[in-house]
Symmetry: C2
Subunit: 244 residues, 2 copies
DNA sequence: GTCTATAAGATGATAGAC
DNA sequence: GTCTATCATCTTATAGAC
């Protein structure tokens, strides 16, 4: 789980030297794009290797199985993503030795690295996030792949939000994160639905407009849940296993 | 598009009489369940007719094609859903001849019929909403199927929200709806991710807890977008084609 | 690492008997 | 409306030559 290799069987390594874009990467690029467009089952290994212009057998050689290929695609860009997210969070926490970071700053650190890459990172990143959107909403893959790939970092962010909203109940905190996750990933899918619904006023691929609004929308939502009226106030709820 | 039949070719009709659960419905039930579990491409017609315990050829006979079957599954429960949503909205608008409905009441009328059926409507409804979650986040089907099935009703709700938030800009209104849609449909997927993330504090299938929180979360989000500071106030922005 | 060849079976759809 | 039989193609995966 460190460098993103190793999937079930021996990994051939990047011994090929000079080329920074060898067969392995070509297959990952094609798989990323096609999985994003039509989903895991909607694409065959032949579609992928054909698009990558490599031999059919090489996908199985490099990734063991079709599912191994999906997991490799999913893991490839995760490290960079998680790294920048944590760096931003750490910067916020370090800067705010005395003045704690605002909820808006924390949510921004969580969403900006993603929306920025989907908007300006090139077609590979765009496909990657569309795939994340599908996986997040898939009963088949969502529970395992999202958890394995992102939730260690998510825990760090929830911990920061917990401190920004003292007295907030654990359940409210996690459900609010759930809503944020749904709003964020639907954005990545870029289905074009909002374009038609809004009569052209909004465009699915205008991610800067989304980001400008997602942060205040969710920050207000978090606050609304954590200060709801008619609440029996409890002691700070020392999270038991929630923060392992 | 009235009674939910008619998909591309002649429809054999429910002439079989007595039985209220004929072959057609058995196929729809099985397809609904399997499409929800593994997605459109993850299931074969043989899987579906096998689960329905009917002959393989009957799926194509009744629905023309695999895609026709998907569209029939998607349309089957939509009418009841849209009907109750509109009835609730109309009740709100009628009751509030003088006192306009609150944002919370409008959002509740939009989400409650869905969350209530997913929680207590039986396994068919549960599968249906899981399928909606996947379709909403699918670049392949989301833009067409969601628009065709739900967006006429969605427009009515957005119109009501527009009146509850006078002066709100169109773009903010539609993006806020987009966030609501993402939060709502991720809930339907019930992937189990939130269970693990929260260490058991939240459960994916506890939809009553979700509903209790989704309404205030989104209401606060809508308000936050529509009264953002540093905004150049515009005239009520008479929506041109957005409300056809 | 790459390729050919092929195993072994599944796929969506249909024609035509009943 | 239902079923059998079948078409023509595609499916994942692997063995073995180079």
């Amino acid at each position: 789980m460190t460098t993103g290799g190793k999937r079930g069987r021996r990994t051939p390594a990047r011994r090929s030297g000079a080329r920074s874009h060898p067969t392995r990467e070509r297959i990952l690029d094609a798989a990323e794009r096609l999985f994003a467009q039509r989903g895991f089952h909607g694409v065959s290994i032949r579609d992928i290797t054909g698009a990558a212009d490599v031999d059919v057998a090489l996908a199985n050689y490099h990734f063991g199985s079709k599912q191994g290929l999906l997991e490799a695609v999913f893991a490839r860009r995760a490290e960079e993503l998680n790294g920048e997210r944590l760096a931003r969070l750490d910067a916020l926490l370090a800067a705010g030795r005395r003045k704690a970071p605002t909820l808006e700053e924390i949510i921004d650190a969580f969403t900006h690295p993603l929306l920025d890459r989907s908007a300006r990172g090139g077609p590979g990143w765009k496909s990657y996030f569309a795939l994340v959107a599908e996986v997040n909403n898939s009963p088949e893959f969502g529970g395992v792949l999202m958890t394995r790939t992102f939730d260690q970092v998510v825990q760090r962010f929830i911990e920061a939000i917990r401190r920004a909203l003292p007295g907030c109940e654990e359940r409210d905190l996690y459900w609010a994160y759930h809503f944020l996750s749904g709003a964020l990933t639907l954005t990545f899918a870029e289905t074009g639905r909002i374009d038609k619904l809004s009569g052209g006023v909004c465009r699915s691929n205008d991610l800067d407009s989304v980001h400008e609004r997602l942060v205040p929308f969710c920050a207000a939502g978090f606050r609304a849940l954590c200060v709801r009226k008619g609440r029996t106030r409890k002691p700070p709820a020392r999270r038991s296993k929630a923060a392992r």
